[in-house]
Symmetry: C2
Subunit: 458 residues, 2 copies
């Protein structure tokens, strides 16, 4: 019997996060006046201790003891050798995955929800607002708020709210409040409903509602929380890769290839950034973010300044973007339906430190089924995108006859997305691929925007 | 930071199951002629290697290497110290739980599904049939069959099939086939549909369909599989308690109280039986099976001979039973809606080795919410019954000012039962309690049945 799971004890959990801003140059976010945003500009939206993390260039940042304590509900997560998949593929490659599906909400999202709730609590905040698309992030923040005694209000895109009632139930089981967006509670919501009373909602509108509620609370006790894209979110997620490195040390192994799915970028960054540090220091590693062919920001979209939200409320961020007006097709991996990409992930790609890939929805589900029937766990639709790339690399290793070591991030389980497996198995799922015409149209939005510099950190 | 999780390495997994039949006397199952059933009578239904386990009185039975290998996908399961719950209750009791929710299907059920699939495979069987109520067992068997390359056909009670489409999706993702019961595929199904074309179905009919398909396969390559009640199922589940004992040894602790929810009895038995062995050998331990007040077999029903299924196809089993015609009220803990109880569990209760408790549905969900908001994990409706008893015992320990050690079995997660949490939170969930009149009526069925002897093993 071969060992499948490599564990760390709780006292072996990393005590510090890795901050990639210490090692790469970045274009600054820009305000409405075209000038770099100052920390105090963000104070109505985020607590100052998180803003300090957002702009810090310290390489290592201490993880508070109380954050570690809550993370230890499910962390350290196991690094798993995918023995059964290797056998099914008859590959000489060794395949490992970091299983982030074991958290109570079922994904990597609480890795940042927990510290965000903690820092807000310490800062004296009593209520957090956020938006959620498919529901993973809203669930994670509700869970985290329940651990620190904070109120939580989640604006969930109407179409998902109706399609995925279990996500609302989950949030409310943890004491959070989940509201279909657009709602009548905010000006942004009322405006959207006035324009179209039957609107399915959008992530852009939901963000606007959540921000509006946070900044308009006169007591100053409410803030907004974001589950991806920002620097401090990537920072918190690096615990994934830092644990994985310790586990590889235990296993006497080290990856040749690191793979993660990328929507906003936080799952990919969480596993990859600690390995990017090694690559910067001379290690030979291939680092592959994988995105859907339907929403190909890193593989097709330009590196530009763009807004993080559809309504244009956020600062301009330097990133690969399809344009904030781009509406991704109704892909079932809701977590990968984002027009932009984390600025840090965009920067490492533009410096050649990572080589993005894209896969179609059908390739992804096919990979998901193979994993369910070998490794047993049913992957989230987002995770299946990483899987398709893993299988591809493992087959390549077989063709080349090379014993490579591959590691990927199992971002979440698919237990609340099982309906989409039904659709795949019954043949009613289709591919969406972005055409060059759509891409050209999407790019028009940047014509009058400032352009980020092509910085080289080395 | 206090340690929450006590792990074992994969090479510390128990190598043998504990068979309680070595230590207690049992009344034999009886055939239609009133005589004890012979092993060969069961051969059309189960493979002979499992029948041998069913009747074995060896105390320790080796776990095959290939079974251990598949179990190691998620086992050993962590023993978790419920620190946050202890704090919330301000109790001097130390509370631990064995987390069985981490298996791919989300419950303890694959602990027996995996060996059952393995033994059938080794015996040359190619297809397994079974029934499922809420869907946990059907999912577990589909998962296990996918690991050993067996076909799997699951007859799912129509009302659950319609209410819980995700369970069907889960089974089919693993390659199983899930059919609403009654179906037109079997005589039993057609008869039921002829009687009532709109019938919601019943576990009894689903069992009949699954058995009929198994025994009528002329190739002899199909068998039936059961997820609870039988001796070999209890045997396979003892890996839970055997692991727990090793983990307590690591923690330098030992339980005063062992608690598990009991429907058919396999989750309770899995944790408790290895501790029952210690109790037989002189240890002072309270062992508490917990059942719903709506379906109180151990706490209210007599110890009798009764059929395991509604249609009366199975042998007569010596057990606590409300009568095979008893239809449990529409309780949301589907896994606890069973008219009988495993003969081995019934026997240890009748010998005073375990002291059953019952709780109402609302007490159970209230406990479930508290656990979700402290320990983070959302429990299955079945698990919440154990939780209510745990909380009760922890409060008692506080009143008595005694530092007791409590362990319970977290039988599964509630991610596919979240709709019922919604109902609880919105106040639309109700209690069902069995009245004395209903009980008396249910008991009438036994008037002309043989009576089991009141055996004392000591």
């Amino acid at each position: 019997m071969e060992t499948r799971k490599i564990f760390l004890n709780e006292d072996e959990m990393p005590r510090q996060w890795y901050n990639i801003l210490a090692d790469i140059k970045m274009n600054p976010p820009l305000g409405p006046d075209g000038n770099p945003v100052k920390p105090e500009d963000l104070a109505p939206v985020f607590p100052m201790n998180l803003i300090e993390q957002e702009v810090s260039t310290d390489r290592w940042i201490d993880i508070p003891e109380k954050v570690l304590d809550v993370l230890s509900i499910w962390r350290p997560s196991p690094l798993v050798r995918a023995i059964s998949l290797e056998k099914a593929l008859d590959t000489p490659a060794k395949i490992y995955f970091k299983n982030e599906s074991l958290s109570p909400p079922g994904s990597h999202k609480p890795n940042t929800a927990v510290p965000q709730a903690y820092y807000n609590k310490v800062f004296g905040i009593e209520k957090l607002t956020t938006e959620t698309g498919a529901g993973q992030w809203g669930s994670a923040l509700s869970f985290a708020c329940s651990q620190f005694g904070l109120e939580c209000r989640v604006y969930m895109v109407r179409v998902s709210f109706d399609q995925k009632p279990y996500r609302k139930s989950m949030m409310e089981t943890w004491g959070g409040k989940c509201i279909a967006s657009p709602s009548m509670e905010t000006k942004a919501g009322r405006d959207a409903l006035e324009k179209d009373p039957n609107t399915p909602g959008s992530l852009g509108t939901a963000i606007s509602e959540a921000i509006e509620v946070a900044v308009s609370d006169q007591t100053g006790k409410t803030r907004y929380s974001l589950g991806s894209v920002l620097n401090h979110v990537m920072l918190h997620q690096t615990i994934i890769g830092l644990e994985a490195k310790k586990q590889f040390e235990k296993a006497g192994d080290y990856p040749d290839i690191v793979i993660g799915c990328a929507g906003g970028g936080s799952n990919f960054a969480g596993l990859a950034f600690p390995f990017v540090l090694d690559k910067i220091n001379g290690k030979q590693i291939e680092i592959l973010p994988v995105e859907p062919a339907a929403c190909p920001t890193l593989t097709k979209a330009p590196f530009v300044y763009d807004h993080g939200d559809t309504a244009g409320y956020t600062p301009l961020l330097p990133m690969h973007s399809l344009g904030h007006a781009f509406v991704p097709p109704p892909l079932h991996a809701g977590g990968l339906r984002y027009h932009g990409m984390a600025p840090t992930v965009s920067q490492i790609v533009s410096e050649g430190l990572a080589s993005p890939r894209s896969v179609t929805q059908l390739e992804a589900y096919e990979a998901g089924i193979l994993l369910a029937r070998t490794e047993g766990i049913i992957p989230a639709p987002e995770t299946t995108h990483a899987l398709a790339c893993v299988i591809d690399e493992a087959r390549k290793a077989k063709e080349e006859g090379r014993e490579k070591t591959i590691v990927f991030s199992w971002s979440g389980h698919g237990l609340l997305d099982l309906g989409t497996y039904d659709k795949f198995l019954s043949g009613s799922l289709h591919n969406f691929v972005l055409s060059d015409e759509e891409l050209a149209k999407a790019e028009k939005i940047f014509e009058n925007y400032p352009k980020p510099s092509l910085l080289k950190s080395f």
